[in-house]
């Protein structure tokens, strides 16, 4: 039981990651791919935040009478990673818009057929 209590949220996070990853590699629509990428990354963020948690701790802001703080380092890392994620999303979506304009479609198998492969 303690085994499950120790790890259950990591397992769910792994499941979420894989759901996102699956959307990225299986989706045919480019917008959905981007959504998948975001889900994938957000789940990784959850992995980091989970490891920073201390049971019984509080947010790492100095407060009176609190001795146990959660680890601030993962929070910092993930703040950076979120920004990186949104930057990638913006560029990806801009590409999608251009692809739509150039090919008239954003379905991967459709524009693949419009040019020679490569």
């Amino acid at each position: 039981m303690s085994f499950i209590l120790d790890y259950y949220n990591y397992w769910i996070v792994v499941f979420l990651m894989m759901a996102g990853f699956y959307i990225v590699i299986s989706a045919n629509n480019l917008v959905k791919k981007i959504v998948g990428l975001n889900i994938f990354q957000t789940s990784v963020f959850m992995l980091y935040i989970s490891m920073g948690k201390v049971t019984g701790g509080t947010a790492p802001i100095v407060a009176e009478g609190v001795t146990q703080y959660s680890n601030p380092l993962p929070h910092v890392l993930i703040l950076t990673a979120i920004v990186v994620g949104v930057a990638t999303t913006a560029v990806g979506l801009a590409l999608v818009v251009r692809i739509k304009r150039a090919y008239g479609t954003v379905e991967e198998n459709e524009f693949d057929n419009k040019d020679d492969v490569i």
């Binding site: 894989m18 629509n29 201390v54 100095v62 930057a87 913006a90 560029v91």
Partner: protein, 328 residues
């Protein structure tokens, strides 16, 4: 009490899992994007639950805010239905299963969740928790670590945002419409106009609060930039892009984005000039703590400026592409 919190976490994780599963099978992209917004909000709640207040704040404003808005604008241009995929989904499934199995294998040896004796809480972090209020002088340890100990990462993060705007501008550019487009903006919505005009100043005020209160509570340059950008995005949505351009033009925003990065970097250069290492805020004033304070305020301002300019400019770029006829 501990059991209760676990249940809340578990419930939220379960909802997340359901959302993710639903996204996999949905073909209506509009619904997919909305579900993604929900997913983002839920994860922000989880972050909150796990004591990561700053992260939750950011995730809510970015994931559920900016990302979702950008996706919706894109959808307006690309159509909202996903077509049936022709290729087999067995290979992706296989790849995902293998990856997932590897990760599960990895979890079996992990330090238990939430245990205070875990290596992450033992090695580097204690210094941040115990010393940073003395060394940096800020109550919010996340801000201390973000802006000072790992200031170089944050500079990198700002540059990433800057790269994003370079990418979006080179791909889309900001088109100025010559003749005044009747359809631009929501001209006929009188109520919306009045409310928006009254709310926007409040939002900007809030952004400034977040910007400068980041040292003491959750918040900081990044969140503030996003909120301020949201205010202008609201303005652009309600009154139309041309009017928004009249307030802050895209060209000016480019300069602002560059200026923010330069402001950040100049703090580093100044500390080098003073004889310290790059981004060594201790050199900025006679008293190291004061130096840290000045440094953090300035670099947070740099981050805020860049993020605001970049987010707004990206929205401009997308917004000026959208053909209104597609917007439902």
């Amino acid at each position: 009490m501990a059991e209760f919190i676990d249940l809340v976490l578990l419930a939220m994780l379960a909802m997340l899992a359901l959302t993710a599963l639903r996204i996999i099978f949905l073909k209506d992209l509009f619904a997919v994007v909305m579900l993604f917004g929900i997913y983002s909000f839920l994860s922000a709640l989880i972050f909150l639950n796990l004591d990561a207040v700053d992260v939750a704040f950011t995730e809510a404003s970015v994931g559920a805010g900016i990302s979702t808005v950008l996706m919706l604008v894109t959808l307006a241009m690309t159509g909202r239905k996903e077509k049936q995929s022709t290729h087999s989904s067995l290979l992706p499934l296989f790849v995902v299963l293998v990856t997932g199995a590897a990760l599960i294998y990895g979890t079996l040896d992990m330090p238990p969740f939430g245990h205070p004796d875990n290596p992450v809480h033992q090695h580097v972090a204690p210094r941040y928790i115990e010393e940073s209020p003395k060394e940096v002088g800020l109550p919010n340890m996340v801000t201390s670590v973000l802006a000072s100990y790992r200031g170089f990462d944050t500079l990198g993060e700002t540059v990433v945002v800057f790269s994003a705007v370079i990418g979006v501008l080179s791909l889309l550019g900001v088109r100025r419409k010559k003749k005044k487009d009747l359809e631009s903006g929501l001209e006929t919505h009188r109520v919306l106009h009045v409310v928006a005009k009254n709310i926007i100043p409040l939002v900007i005020l809030f952004a400034l609060y977040v910007q400068f209160h980041g040292d003491f509570g959750p918040g900081g340059g990044f969140q503030a930039g996003v909120i301020a950008a949201a205010a202008f995005i609201l303005y652009a949505l309600v009154l139309g892009l041309p009017k928004a351009f009249a307030v802050v033009g895209p060209r000016f925003l480019q300069w602002m984005a560059a200026a923010g990065v330069l402001l950040y970097a100049s703090v580093g250069l100044y500390s080098m000039y003073k004889g310290g290492q790059f981004l060594d805020y201790n050199q900025l004033a006679a008293d190291p703590i004061a130096g840290q304070h000045y440094g953090i305020i300035i670099i947070e301002l740099g981050v805020g400026i860049t993020v605001f300019a970049v987010m707004l400019n990206i929205f401009y770029a997308f917004g000026s592409q959208a053909e209104r006829s597609n917007v439902q």
